[in-house]
Amino acid sequence: MRSHSFHVPAAEVIAMIGWPLGWLALMALVIHGVSFLGLLPSPRPAFDVDRTILLHQAEASRKQTGATTLLVGDSSCLMNVDALRLQNLLGPGERVINLGAISYLDLQAFGTLASNYARANPDTLRRVVLLMHPEALRLRHRDPYFAEVLTNALRGTSTRHSVPPLVWATGAGDLRSRLLSRFVPSPLPGPWGEFYGFSRDLSGYLDENAGSAIDPRTYRADTVSGSAEYRLAPDLEAASKAFRQLIPDGVELWAGITPAPESFVLPDHEARCNAMLTTWGEWLGADQQLTRLPSSLEDRFFASTTHLNAKGREAFTERLARDLQVPEEPE
């Protein structure tokens, strides 16, 4: 007995499959066409916490917001400093903007943000404060994906890296990043979702808080893994010198290292950080080194090993304000 008989003419099968594929191809042509002609808005792939932050900071780096003090660095700069509070503590005439980003980026990325901001605000910017965590200072390898995201955000182009061929070919990627993401915000996961909600709300929070954010998580020492043997990465010297070149003449560069939880660090952590800061500051050619910032704080001030929580941020901001107002006397 035959298994099955197929009573569908080939032309019918071709029509059934061909029509949807044909329409899909037409949609793809239209999307690529209008994208090529520049009729679509620039990509805004704010699909998660990291990309939302990157996109916001990239856009903010080109705005004329008239900051006198600019904060740049990794996510510990973003999360550990309350820019508006710092501004109040520094006194009248001071305006602070935080362009802290994420730790997957390198000094070149941070320098690009600072350089862009300096170009957009040449008459007001007096000081760039570079803050990084020891965890970021020892990283040897960076994720090229986020560097590409930042580059494309600054250029207004689409990210091709790790975009599946079918997604690119059908225009689905452009549809999602250029149109959908602007109208339908992405939900954020876990504690981020509970605190900020969606990508649009996180972006709004950054807008309202001069680029600063809060890490909503809770630090738990018993779940932490990793080593506190911090040291400077071998390629940091060249990267630091290149960073200095991106800071305009006449703008001071201050460098500092952000704290880690007391229970996590080694007994010689403070001495280790001081030595790292001295060396790193020399590589950067920093005008001032923030040597009086705490290298560690009590665990209760932390959201993670690299980020302070809201209370810790308050305490750290006050310490930073004091150090920025009274620079250390050179020896």
């Binding site: 007995m1 035959r2 298994s3 099955h4 008989s5 197929f6 009573h7 569908v8 003419p9 019918e12 099968v13 029509a15 059934m16 499959i17 061909g18 029509w19 949807p20 594929l21 044909g22 329409w23 899909l24 037409l26 949609m27 599946p164 079918l166 997604v167 059908t170 689905a172 549809l175 999602r176 959908l180 109208f183 339908v184 915000p185 939900p187 996961p189 876990g190 979702g193 509970e194 900020y196 909600g197 969606f198 649009r200 709300d201």
Partner: protein
């Protein structure tokens, strides 16, 4: 191997090629289906393939035995043997830990220490579905509704048919088994329907359900959601579970259609129901009819008067809730729906309706009832249920409430629009009445949506955990 995975696309493409090659031989086709289905199942976990095979062989043998047995005692023993094996496997793998833990908590309340060890038992995927499917075969043979089949490949294919193996529809032997013994005639209409069902099912899963999942988690994972957020989050869950489960059923039916097989409709616009009884006539139809035919009727159905009928309804729905998972929240959900069915029955006795009228009030009341049932279903524990129920008194909203509403509306619109279309047209296959070009445009839009979200982190089908 998820339906919404590149691996399944490759698997199905390879299977279609081999299917074409065996078109001249029915036995070869059935063995091909068995082999492919076992490979499909083994992709999940090859260790549990033996359970599927044992369950199949036991019920094949029991079926033959029932056909030959003349004594009613021997027939009863054979059926009992099938029940013991199937329910024993299901009970051990799904409920052992639950019962041990429940007993331990019960004894702890009385101060008695109960130290029976729990085992780290992995739940074999699809076990609730295929054991019910094989049991329906032996029960129907016992009742004389169908004859036992002597063709082993037909029976193995019936039990393991990969489109519906892990998450239904739970088929009946009278409907599906004969199809494996016949030459399947694949018509234009079947291919067209199959393509539509696959695309629409994938869209419901990949675009709707998987994008609503984080919205649901934002609410049900929140320590203190307010009433507004909880209502929207529960609405999101109602659409998520519908998109997820009906999406899977549609993909199952669609792939089967393309192969020339007909699987039963499992969902028929459930959120248009105007009473609880109607809801269960539209939601997970294969399970609700299975429970009706093999449990409710077996307990006596409505033959023992109003009181007995109500008891039978409650038992059926409580066990139906337990089928969904080894947790007391599922039992509570089953109890909730049992109470709803009892209330509806008593209401109908007092206020008999001469005809059927769709009413807005009936619909609204049913949706509120079903919605609260989803809250019970989705909650993590009794304490969580209490917390969520209390939250219904707090009408504060978070700052991101607007973004939540935008998301929910955006992902709800496509499924609500198609449902409205199907309802107005009076047919689930209303889109197939369109011309090829127009239907093609709609299917292209579905494809675009699927491609848009295909690479997102895969969310497991909800009903795989059952």
């Amino acid at each position: 191997m998820l339906f919404n995975s590149t691996l399944f696309l490759k698997f199905f493409a390879a299977f279609l090629l081999l299917y074409w090659m065996v078109r001249g031989n029915l036995a070869a086709r059935n063995w091909l289906i068995v082999a492919a289905s076992y490979a499909f199942y083994a992709a999940w976990d090859w260790r549990f393939l033996s359970l599927l095979i044992v369950s199949s062989l036991v019920d094949y043998a029991v079926g033959l035995g029932l056909d030959r047995a003349e004594s009613s005692t021997r027939r009863k023993w054979l059926l009992t043997g099938s029940m013991v094996v199937n329910l024993g496997i299901l009970g051990f793998f799904k409920y052992y830990g639950f019962f041990v833990e429940s007993l331990r908590e019960l004894f702890a309340q009385t101060g008695i220490s109960f130290n029976m060890g729990t085992l780290e038992i992995v739940l074999p995927v699809g076990i609730s579905f295929y054991t019910f499917q094989t049991m329906s075969y032996t029960i129907d043979v016992y009742r004389g509704k169908i004859r036992a089949t002597r063709r082993l490949p037909d029976f193995l294919a019936y039990v393991s048919f990969f489109p519906q193996l892990v998450a239904g529809p739970i088929e009946r032997a009278a409907h599906l088994l004969p199809q494996f013994g016949e030459t399947r005639v694949i018509t234009r209409g079947m291919v067209r329907e199959g393509i539509w069902l696959c695309l629409w099912g994938l869209f419901k899963k990949v675009v709707i359900a998987d994008n609503l999942a984080p919205l649901v988690e934002m609410v049900y994972g929140h320590p203190a959601p307010g009433a507004a957020l909880l209502i929207l989050g529960t609405a999101a869950f109602a659409l998520q579970i519908y998109g997820d489960f009906s999406g899977y059923s549609d993909i199952a039916r669609g792939t089967a259609k393309i192969l020339g097989f007909d699987l039963m409709v499992n969902f028929n616009l459930p959120y248009l129901a105007t009473n609880v009884r109607e809801f269960w006539g539209r939601w997970h139809i294969s399970l609700s009819t299975w429970l009706r035919d093999y449990l409710y009727i077996g307990l006596g159905g409505n033959r023992g008067g109003t009181g007995a009928t109500c008891v039978n309804l409650m038992i059926t729905m409580v066990l139906g809730g337990l089928w969904h998972g080894a947790a007391w929240t599922f039992v509570l959900w089953g109890f909730w729906h049992g109470a709803g069915l009892v209330a509806h029955r008593l209401w109908m006795l007092r206020r008999p309706q001469p005809g059927y009228t769709w009413t807005a009030w009936g619909w609204a009341a049913t949706m509120v009832f079903v919605g609260y049932g989803w809250l019970l279903f989705r909650a993590q524990s009794f304490e969580h249920i209490v917390l969520l129920t209390r939250a219904l008194g707090d009408w504060s909203v978070p700052a991101w409430f607007g973004s939540y509403v935008v998301n929910l509306i955006f992902f709800a619109i496509p499924v609500l629009a198609v449902q409205a279309w199907q309802w107005r047209a009076g047919s689930l296959l209303a889109p197939l009445r369109l011309r090829n070009a127009t239907l093609g445009a709609i299917e292209a839009a579905l494809l675009m949506g699927i491609i848009l979200f295909w690479e997102k982190e895969k969310v497991p089908f909800i009903y795989f955990q059952f």
